[in-house]
């Protein structure tokens, strides 16, 4: 699985990186997720956290790409 965050949609709710702290982190400044606009690989043991993070985003900014 891969994951991407649409940069224009992220508004810094902060749920994704609190629910998947080993996968995502904040930008250390205003609370946006740090990987906006990127595609990252989701390790096998993080798939559940990634799904919860994506489902919790009120902006629907996180897209999961199944392999």
């Amino acid at each position: 699985m891969r994951l991407t965050v649409e940069s224009g949609r992220c508004r810094g709710h902060g749920l994704c990186y609190s629910l998947a702290p080993d996968l995502l982190e904040d930008d250390d400044d205003e609370g946006y997720v740090s990987v906006r606009g990127q595609v990252i690989d989701v390790p096998e043991d993080q798939v559940g956290h990634a799904r919860n993070a994506a489902g919790s985003c009120p902006e629907r900014a996180i897209e999961l790409i199944e392999n």
Partner: protein, 413 residues
């Protein structure tokens, strides 16, 4: 709250077939009534035209409310109160639209970012421990006034760099302000006096920092005095506006949300026990309370252009009201939408709004609520509502809040 169906016709007004209602959400009601009303409206129609005040549209379902938040170019924050399309006040940055909005929001956003909030978490725990210890021996309290208002106020004042003990001043001001803000005309004078008190407090804070060459460390007022927007100093007027808005937006809301969460815990021993045994569930319990017990009955926006919105013929200047309380319990989005699911996954509630105006203080509010539950349950693991009278909630004209929440518990000897 009474609402009367008025068919689907209003003279001189095209409603696109939307049902017409007359709904005034401002009177106080028995606790929970506003969510029941939102449920009823949502399952009747995705949109209504409400003839209350000058008339405005009401969107009841999750997708439409989220869409409203995500399109500020159509749904402006120039007014956020649907029955007040031409407000005499202007909250900054709350009522500023993009692109100007981010210039002002950035001045304060890092103070309330996750890292900044985590830095004050140890102090927040200390404040909560002190308040709980003071209450524990009493065997009971009014949770709303004795804890839910006091805790966020002290933490907020600490984070922005003024004495936490000034909560003694802010608690009654915030109480008086919101008593009037919901539309109670008898309270208007007290509301004005409270607003005057808050502003004067900040005027004095600014005077005490006037002429200093460098901003003080960990002092928001001082930082704002040294801030520049578009090459110009922010100035006293905007600085006062921003500081006042933070007080009004941050304290009453957290108080309201804490009241409903602790009423739930008082009524649900199994959830109390679970959180005591598994404190790692506290964050998801807090999120669930923000969803199920949202204090935002609805949120207003002003339409910027003539447009069709899911069949509603909106006209420029119309007001719309996104029923957040309806959205957060929308069964199209949530399984067991009317239940408190303590470990709910994928909880994408709109309790902190969405889009560019996403609640600036959401990270702080979450931290305060989590600290409150953790520190309270450590000392007072069992407690109950100490009245047989129905609890009452403030109307949805401002934010929903329990007026009182009498709790009692056995005092450990």
């Amino acid at each position: 709250m009474t609402s009367t169906a008025e068919g689907d016709q209003i003279p001189g007004r095209a409603t696109g077939g939307c049902p017409v209602i007359h709904l005034d959400a401002s009177p106080p009601l028995e606790a929970g009534s506003h969510w029941a009303k939102a449920n009823e409206l949502r399952e009747t129609s995705p949109a209504f035209f409400n003839t209350h005040a000058q008339g405005y549209w009401v969107f009841t379902r999750y997708d439409q409310v989220r869409e409203m938040y995500q399109h500020p170019e159509i749904f402006s924050s120039e007014s956020i109160t649907p029955w007040e399309p031409e407000p005499v006040y202007r909250f900054v940055p709350t009522q500023i639209d993009p692109p100007e909005h981010s210039k002002y929001r950035q001045l304060v956003s890092r103070w309330f970012a996750p890292n900044a909030v985590q830095r004050v978490a140890p102090q927040a725990h200390e404040i909560a421990q002190r308040l709980v210890a003071d209450l524990a021996a009493r065997g009971g309290c009014d949770f709303v006034s004795d804890f839910a208002m006091r805790l966020p106020t002290e933490i907020f004042l600490t984070i922005i760099g003024v004495p936490g003990s000034d909560a003694d001043l802010f608690v009654p001001w915030v109480e008086d302000f919101f008593a009037g803000f919901g539309g109670d005309l008898d309270q208007q004078q007290a509301m004005g006096a409270a607003l005057g008190g808050i502003r004067q407090y900040w005027v004095d804070v600014l005077e005490a920092r006037r002429g200093e060459a460098e901003p003080r460390e960990n002092d928001l007022a001082s930082l704002l005095m040294h801030s520049v927007v578009d090459g110009e100093p922010l100035g006293d007027v905007l600085t006062l506006d921003i500081l006042t808005v933070l007080v009004l937006a941050g304290l009453d809301t957290t108080r309201g949300q804490l009241g409903y969460l602790f009423r739930h815990l008082a009524d649900h021993p199994e959830d109390r026990q679970r959180l005591s045994a598994e404190p790692e569930l506290i964050p998801s319990a807090v999120e669930e309370s923000l969803r199920l017990y949202t204090i935002i009955f609805g949120d207003g926006r002003k339409v910027t252009e003539d447009t069709d919105f899911h069949g509603c013929p909106l006209r420029k200047g119309d007001m719309v009201y996104g029923l957040v309380s309806g959205a957060n319990r929308d069964p199209r989005v949530y399984d067991r939408a009317d239940e408190f699911v303590i470990d709910r996954k994928a909880n994408n509630h709109l309790g902190f709004a969405g889009g560019p105006h996403r609640c600036l203080g959401s990270h702080l509010a979450r931290m305060i609520m989590q600290v409150a539950v953790e520190e309270w349950l450590k000392v007072i693991p069992d407690f109950q509502v100490a009245t047989d009278e129905p609890l009452m909630e403030r109307g949805g004209g401002a934010m929903l809040a329990l007026f009182t929440l009498p709790l009692s518990w056995d005092v450990r000897s």
